[in-house]
């Protein structure tokens, strides 16, 4: 049976003067497109989900090399990035579950080979964070929390 999931999170930028853009896809369908994140933005949306695997993709766009300032030693002294925080489903905050189920796909803004890395709330390179979950979402949440001893036979 299809369920409607209410999702929400806070989207912020380290530098609102940079025209960092942001998109969300649900199962490859675009559901949000912000060309320039100009202020702290509470993001809310409903997802109609059939039982089974679901995917949300959070895309950072418009990042350029001008947004990153590096000193003579190669150390980043200023950067522009977006932050996703307080992610909730149906008003239940997921905390670590959200981060654990996300993977960050990017290529260091075209400077290196593509990589898939853990996600730690910040999107600093053009690319996408893929978040996988399942519907019904309440069951998925309870299956995902680490309540068991680690080794099972």
């Amino acid at each position: 049976m299809m369920e409607t999931i209410f999702a929400s999170f806070d989207l912020t930028s380290s530098d609102y003067t940079c025209n960092l853009g942001f998109e969300i896809f649900h199962n490859n369908k675009k559901i949000l497109d912000i060309n320039h994140v100009q202020a702290a933005t509470p993001v809310t949306f409903n997802l109609d989900a059939e039982p089974g695997d679901q995917e949300l993709r959070f895309v950072l766009k418009n990042k350029t090399s001008k947004h990153t300032i590096i000193d003579d030693n190669g150390k980043i002294i200023k950067d522009a990035y977006l932050t996703i925080s307080n992610f909730s489903f149906n008003d239940v905050e997921l905390n670590n579950i959200f981060l654990e189920k996300c993977q960050y796909h990017h290529d260091f803004n075209g400077s290196k080979d593509p990589v898939v890395l853990p996600f730690y709330n910040d999107l600093g390179c053009n690319g996408e964070v893929v978040f996988c979950f399942e519907s019904p979402v309440y069951y998925w949440m309870l299956e995902t929390i680490p309540y068991r001893k680690s080794s099972h036979v």
Binding site: V92, Y138, M141, L142, I145, K149, S151, H152
Partner: protein, 236 residues
């Protein structure tokens, strides 16, 4: 020759697993619910090829076999008796092997310490999906079904409820918290011979063969409250 002890939070198949181990180890005496207050799996022990002495059990039931709640005085006496029973078990185990399960609601650290430090005792952990445990316990202990459940549970109806028909009372959250915290406190101190997932285990005794009801949360009206509670509980 080993003793076998099954440990679980609740409603996680410890009865069925204990019966299976007992059948696989006929040299062991079945002290299934030695530390429980009542024998609550009907007369299944009759079908076993192991010895079970009903007098070993506290058997706290009325004339119809319905569990009788303990008074405060009885609870105090029970705590005293735990020490006596532990001592008796120590003596018994010198010449005998046994199978039993530990119910977290009646188990204490002294008993587990004895099991843990006894090289002839193997301890097993069986764990079940937390929402199944939470709701099953609530249904079995707190709602009208529990009050009117058939005396012979084996012949009773399946527990099927309408969607959104059960509201979990706030007081139950506190009860479950106390039970879960006691469980994890003990569980994390124990070295287990084997850790088993209820959902993956194939019970050999037909009474415990089951189809996993993966829709129990659908019964619950205050889903958000329950999910939020369990997530916070497990994280804490």
């Amino acid at each position: 020759m080993y003793n076998h002890v099954v440990y679980s939070l609740a409603k996680s198949g410890s009865n069925g697993l204990t019966l299976d181990i007992a059948n696989d180890n006929p040299q062991c005496t079945m002290l299934h619910s030695y530390f429980s207050r009542r024998w609550h799996i009907n007369n299944d022990w009759n079908k076993l090829s192991v010895t079970y002495n009903e007098k070993d059990d506290f058997g706290n039931v009325d004339q119809y076999g319905v569990p009788r709640p303990l008074t405060t005085k009885e609870m105090e006496d029970y705590d005293k008796e735990t020490a006596i029973k532990l001592d008796a078990l120590k003596q018994y185990s010198e010449n005998n092997n046994f199978v039993l399960f530990c119910s977290v609601s009646v188990m204490d650290l002294h008993i587990l310490h004895f099991f843990q430090s006894d090289p002839r005792t193997k301890i097993y952990l069986i764990e079940r999906n937390i929402i199944d445990v939470f709701i099953s316990l609530y249904i079995n202990e707190c709602i009208q079904w529990a009050l009117t459940r058939p005396r012979d549970i084996g012949d009773g109806p399946n527990k099927v409820f309408a969607q959104d028909s059960i509201t979990v009372e706030k007081s139950y959250f506190n009860q479950f918290t106390a039970r879960y915290q006691k469980y994890t406190k003990f569980r994390d101190r124990i070295t287990f011979e084997k850790i088993i997932r209820y959902e993956d285990y194939g019970f050999k005794n037909s009474d415990y063969r089951h189809t996993w009801n993966h829709c129990k949360l659908d019964y619950i009206k205050n889903k958000k409250e329950v999910v939020e509670f369990l997530m916070q509980l497990v994280r804490s």
